[in-house]
Amino acid sequence: MAVSISERGALELRRIMKEQNSEDLFLRMSLKGGGCSGFNYFLDFAKEPGNFDLTFESNGLRIVIDKKSHLFMNGTVLDFNDGLIDRGFRFNNPMAKTSCGCGTSFGM
């Protein structure tokens, strides 16, 4: 299994990366305790994978995720909602049992 990025997600990410001149970077996905449903998703750019990181490629983008976060995010698809309301990235995580309205945190 893996984590991946939807087509719309990749489109938006590529736009941001171009804007920030960071097209050669990896997208880092991770998870941290806190938030309304227990855990928060987290996005960042990274120069290179570290120890304990897994790497994936999806829709032309390189993703790194640390092994611990991957345990809870396996199968997650990063999507982007480009509607006028609730615009932003969404994590569609098949492992999450509950998630909050904002879609950036979840519980299992």
Binding site: G34, F39, N51, F52, K67
Partner: protein
Amino acid sequence: MSVIVGIDLGTTNSLVSICQDGVPVVLTDKEGNGMLPSVVTYTKDSVLVGNEAKKQFLEYPDRTIYSVKRLFGKSYSDIKNSSIGLPFQIGGDNSKLSIRAGDKELQPFEVSAQVLAKLKSIAEKALGKPVEKAVITVPAWFDDTQRNETRYAARLANLEVVRILNEPTAAALAYGLDTKQTGKIAVYDLGGGTFDVSILDLCDGVFQVLSTNGDTALGGDDMDQALVDWMIKKAGPDLILDAESRIAMKFAAEQIKIRLSDKDEVEVKLDFAAKNLNLQTVLGREEFETLINPLIQRTLTSCQRALRDSGLELSDITSVVLVGGATRVPAIRKAVKEFFGKSPFTGINPDEVVALGAAVQALVLAGGRRDVLLLDVIPLSLGIETLGGAVTKILLRNTTIPVSATEEFTTSVDNQTAITVHVLQGERELVEDCRSLSRFKVKDLPPMPAGLPRLQVSFTVDENGVLSVKAVETRSSQSASVEIFPSIGLSMEAVDKIVEESIDHAMDDFELRMLVELRNKAERIIVATDRVWQKAQSLMGKEEMTDLEKTLNETKAALKRGEKDKELMQNLVDRLGDLTRPLADKIFTSATEDVLVGKSVAEI
């Protein structure tokens, strides 16, 4: 391979250290003391060293020798006209100097040899094997004679000196600055009785001393003296000023100074009726800072001179390192930071930093490889303790530095007048599984209901890897902050182990974390329901109230027994949510009615 220890042979205190698994540590005696007072007492038939000797000071003032480092390389004619202020007898001529201790006549290095021998024995006991070689540190301004005298002392103590190392260089090594290959480093060393500032040039990983400056009669003791003078003024003219009252005040002064390092004000209470010394007042940190400001300014003048002599500009300085116990005083840190325009390194215990650096040098000389943490990313996540013993990470592992992040928190108890911020490092979810870095308080908050305070906590890691944590309660503008060097004492191996553990425990930690969150949620609902219980009686049906009460009691019991079944807690919280939702709706509606009833539409 033979063992090489690092030794900080200090004027006031000495330490011995070694690298264990690539990380330098100070070795301690069987009582756990790492600092050995550089004091030797020569009684009729024995020699006492360290704390044992210090205790003899009042009984044998003429046989108890200390501060001999100041006499290294000096002849009697060098010092006879200066007020070096040592109570034991010193004699000699233009070429040499001797100290009289009872019926013995000694040279300064012979006294230091006793201190070194004691350190050797502490190290041998701690390591369980013989120690024959050492790296010994000396002030950067020590000349050849003084360095040689240090060698003689070591030889007499049966220690082979593998290297004489400059103290500021040792401090820079302790912080791993040598790994940066190049740089210009200022080392500000304020000890008990002496102040040294050195400017170092680091080129291809090798340090060179560009300049030194300082004051051999300026240190933490002078801050204590400034406080004593203040006390004398406060005590009034009736005070009987003699050795006894001076000692009492000096002791109090040191305590006040230490307490003011993390308190904004301290109560000063001195009751010494026999000397008409009755003082009951409060000293604020600001007033203390005014008292010691002249001393701080003198150190800055030295810094200015050292910088001038080095031929560098302020902007050339790449790192600033603090050494010496007195640099714990916040006003000093602030002054140094302002002078050099840079946050100084403060993460390592300033009393130990030189000894630890000597151990690093010893390791390198022994052919060992030092584990150095790459400082371009955060090696382990940083966060704070939140309700229920959970850790909320603010900066995640692997984030590129410099970096800054802010999160907002609030209280869970009504009328809290202080909030403790507990800074933690690690990958696990619970406080007990992470490393505690620091604890500080935001104080003097006006009483507010739980949930109303807005505590903004910012974590900033600068290019040196120094973490500053600042917490501001934005409604009252009360704030507090702390600076830490989180990578100290961590080897790459240790970091890997911590991360591996967090992966191994990920599932359990996740469950525990969820459980903590559920418990917190349950507590919140209980408190909120209790608050509106009276009102609820009139708004809700009898049956609804009975159901609610039953579920509340069940939840309270579960919390009390520390229920560990996540599903069960989830079920209770869900049920409480379902039962209290209609109540919340009704309270909201009735509150709106209370405001609206009796008013015309125009008034609304």
